[in-house]
């Protein structure tokens, strides 16, 4: 039905929409670089919504629920990370005072990579919102004072809803569906296929305590939902179809039946 009713654009309108798609891809990549670089506050300030009413409605989804409102996104994405880095640095300072870690910048011993590969992107026919999906195939390593490290290959899907503020696109809702944290340096054949509580604690270590807890994504048996949540051509933003906390994303099929 959508194809029959799909809006037709002039050549110039098509070019502008192609240009905007390029801009959106770069914007998401900018966000990923800032995320990897530990510049999380800047990542939100530069790439996320700025208008008050959009910030009120901004959200970050993790497997276990949604952080709702810009301040809650900051609490999770910035403050929790900074607390983690401070604790890591203190562990180094306490354990190895002779090494002179005093005054070291946050993030000592840490490295991480987030990226956005294989993007899927649609701008609404009305040109006011866009939906984007990418794989974030990255890694994270945290050094320990004893010279060891906890290092993981990290894989997840990023569903992102963007909204136009003036001439600029901004990230409005983001859902990070975390698939797995695979420990580096291990015999993969011997890794557990069903997570023990200890393994699960590793896997969920960045999920935190969301504003609105819900089972957004279960990596053990959640695959069937991805198809329905993938971006597809659409006319205009509708909250229940979106990637915010009142949208369908992550809902069980029986909760999607109206």
């Amino acid at each position: 039905m959508y194809k029959e009713n799909r809006k037709l654009f002039t050549d110039d309108e098509y070019i502008v929409r192609m240009w905007e798609k390029e801009y959106i891809q770069d914007l998401v990549a900018r966000f990923m670089y800032a995320w990897s670089n530990g510049e999380r506050r800047e990542a939100l300030e530069n790439c996320w919504v700025r208008k008050t009413h959009n910030r009120r409605d901004a959200s970050w989804g993790e497997n276990n629920g949604f952080y709702v409102g810009y301040d809650e996104v900051v609490r999770h994405f910035v403050a929790e990370y900074e607390d983690e880095c401070k604790a890591d640095l203190k562990a180094f300072q306490d354990a190895r005072p002779e090494k002179g870690y005093t005054g070291a910048d946050l993030g000592l011993g840490k490295t991480l990579l987030h990226d956005c590969t294989t993007p899927l992107l649609y701008i609404a026919d009305d040109g006011q919102t866009a939906r984007y999906l990418c794989y974030d195939v990255g890694m994270e390593s945290t050094g320990k004072p004893d010279g060891s490290s906890e290092s993981f290959f990290e894989v997840g899907l990023c569903f992102i809803e963007l909204i136009k503020e003036g001439d600029d696109w901004r990230i409005w809702h983001l859902v990070y569906e975390h698939d797995f944290s695979m420990e580096a340096g291990k015999d993969y054949g011997s890794l557990p296929r069903i997570l023990s509580p200890e393994d699960d604690a590793v896997f969920t270590r960045h999920h935190g305590t969301p504003t609105k807890a819900s089972d957004v994504y279960n990596d053990l048996y959640g695959w069937e939902y991805i198809y329905w949540d993938m971006p597809a051509p659409y006319k205009t933003y509708e909250e229940e179809e979106g990637y915010g906390p009142r949208g369908k994303i992550g809902k069980k099929y029986y909760d999607r039946i109206i």
């Binding site: 050549d11 110039d12 070019i15 502008v16 192609m18 240009w19 905007e20 390029e22 801009y23 891809q25 770069d26 990549a29 900018r30 990923m32 670089y33 800032a34 990897s36 670089n37 530990g38 510049e39 180094f92 190895r96 090494k99 870690y101 070291a104 910048d105 946050l106 993030g107 000592l108 011993g109 840490k110 490295t111 990579l113 990226d115 956005c116 590969t117 195939v137 990255g138 890694m139 390593s141 050094g143 320990k144 004072p145 010279g147 060891s148 490290s149 906890e150 290092s151 001439d167 600029d168 696109w169 420990e183 580096a184 340096g185 015999d187």
Partner: protein, 241 residues
């Protein structure tokens, strides 16, 4: 977001595709062990080209070309060692047929941020590198995980985008089977691979620590700067030395 006339947007969309294709071709050349052609195929012929790697800068066309040529020589030497190890399969093969045997390199580049100058003469791009490769060592083939960045200044020459300056940086370059930042398992040397002891990459023209490979108490290390919109190259930073 810049407001441009649709004709200008269209031209820039083509240019952005050209730049992504250029980086994609480099990635493909690594896959098919054509590293020796990268300078000839993709680099500017300017005298002020430079390539930055973790250990320093290769400055000028000869140094950059020699860097890629050395990669090619390593590939050929590696294949000859593998040939010694598996004579029943590889003996009698010509150099052309032997080239690339025993080595693989999967170096995808993604997460692009590309900015083309308002004057249309230069561009900047930053890309994640997230791959794996193996190297033939005196102990035989050893596989590695690689996470890093490619950051480049591009210049338009005769209607084609070419690399002017590039940083090709390894953030985590770790032997497979090793937690990041830790000492890898050492393997005994194997006679067939003894010739690899003689191989050395050429020294950088200017030795400098552009990036340290990750270790467990390394100061937090960021990617190269992310490109920002700019009018002309004089108004922005350089990925060169």
């Amino acid at each position: 977001m810049k407001n441009l006339h649709p004709d200008a947007m269209l031209e820039r969309l083509e240019w952005r595709r050209d730049i992504r294709n250029l980086m994609g071709r480099i990635s493909a050349d690594y896959s098919v062990r054509e590293e020796g052609q990268i300078y000839a195929r993709y680099w500017s012929r300017r005298e002020d080209v430079c390539l930055g790697v973790n250990e320093g800068w290769y400055v000028g066309p000869d140094a950059v070309a020699d860097y890629y040529q050395a990669l090619d020589e390593e590939i050929m030497l590696s294949a000859k060692c593998v040939q010694k190890d598996f004579p029943e399969k590889l003996e009698g093969l010509t150099d052309e047929a032997l080239k690339g045997v025993g080595v693989m390199s999967y170096i995808p580049v993604d997460s692009h941020v590309i900015e083309i100058a308002d004057d249309g003469q230069t561009a900047k791009g930053l890309f994640n590198i997230r791959g794996s490769y193996n190297r033939i060592t005196t102990s035989g083939p050893i596989a590695y995980w690689l996470f890093g960045w490619a950051a480049a200044d591009f210049i338009l020459e005769d209607g084609q985008w070419k690399i002017w300056h590039m940083q090709w940086l390894r953030n985590v370059d770790v032997q497979c089977g090793t937690p990041f930042g830790q000492t890898p398992e050492q393997f005994p040397e194997v006679e067939a691979y003894a010739d690899m002891a003689d191989f050395r990459m050429p020294e950088p023209t200017v030795k400098a620590v552009l990036m340290e490979n990750y270790y467990t108490d390394r100061p937090f290390t960021k990617s190269p700067k992310v490109p920002e919109p700019y009018e002309t190259f004089a108004d922005t930073f350089s990925y060169g030395m």
